[in-house]
Symmetry: C2
Subunit: 222 residues, 2 copies
Amino acid sequence: MANAPQNQLTIFTGLGDEEAARLNALAGSRMIDADAFLFHQHSDAKYAYMVESGILMMERTSASGRRQVMAFIHPGNFIGIAQNEYYEFSVRALTDARLKEIPRKQFDALQDEVPLLKDNVRRIGGNILAHTLDQVFALGQKKAHERICFLLQQLKERNPPGVVSIDLVMTRQDIADYLGLTIETVSRAFSKLKREGLIDIHSAHTVVILDDDSVSEMALSD
Amino acid sequence: MANAPQNQLTIFTGLGDEEAARLNALAGSRMIDADAFLFHQHSDAKYAYMVESGILMMERTSASGRRQVMAFIHPGNFIGIAQNEYYEFSVRALTDARLKEIPRKQFDALQDEVPLLKDNVRRIGGNILAHTLDQVFALGQKKAHERICFLLQQLKERNPPGVVSIDLVMTRQDIADYLGLTIETVSRAFSKLKREGLIDIHSAHTVVILDDDSVSEMALSD
DNA sequence: GAGGCAGTTTGATATTAGTCAAGCAGTGGC
DNA sequence: GCCACTGCTTGACTAATATCAAACTGCCTC
């Protein structure tokens, strides 16, 4: 299972040994099977999580049954750190996953004692908001094939530098619900990008970016 | 100019007199004319702002010239509180406005001393994220007329309880760019809602909700 | 109060994405 | 190795939204 990029900001970033130990003392370990829910929308936000291995997705389903995927969550990412009392989305595992589970109450208290930890949390919150604003731009302004590039670009950034092969762990339905499209439109948009030589589709779940500049440009939102 | 709802969370919520005074000592006052920018995307996020009067909008424009409006900002709302070092959007005044301007560096330092202030900031950040997730859902899953209901519902929540007349300060283009539509589609969606008796359009900038239940239901995202 | 202007609405048409349906491809079971 | 199943792709058609164009409205100026 892929690990987080080395330079990625975590709640541990910059902490001294003693502080890291106190934080670790709070954290439990949690395993979750592929396809299971970590928690459901509207439930009490008791824990924050850090993904150690595996891939999950954040989603919201409305009373009318429509589903919006808010994010795909990779090792090193955080869950439930920027919420108020209730989770505003469900989280479901795409693969078997291992997470650090941190009680938010005690986590909050520790932040009062360790300003650097509080700063890390704030910065992670800023990153989450930035990601969400990018998604708003993509959904509001981009065409189907540009939204696919937006996703590919995001997934590529999870890879080690220079690796252009992208592993699509999620289904076409998951991608469709992330990008506000249907599976058929997603499939046709992939085919179009392949036809135009921007990507190669090795299999339905492995895509290679051939023209990184074009893909990046279509993904841009500022 | 409308004031913030009484029950709205601000950075001052729950602070003692002495703490509020220290916070106020940090804050400058800033006036801005209708149509002027408060700041531009990518600039240094030196200040956080609290709106005292007037209405503004948060927007992002891409290199290709497409614009996405991220939020309409009302009295009592905060700007630039959940960012990292650079603003990820521009903010422009729709009307003349007055804001409290708070240097983030000193604001951050004060938060280390006043945990309740830090909590307020965290909660406001949570509210901003919640708003943005609602927008993602609306843009990804809703049809044109439902997105209009989503906007009307949000604006209605700014009114005192029971007031169903909504003042649309922004232009149709602003609405279109907020909802990921064109001005023509926005206009047609308003006409459709009027034809079906859900709203009345007194003038292009004054709308009355006639069937609150239906409008609310179409606005929902969970 | 006539003319002009910016913003909005409406109409006709084009484009994009969605829907419905069929076929294809990889995977796992036996 | 064949079958069946699930998920993906493609095709034909429909529906929704965008585009282009014209007309309307309220407002401001003179």
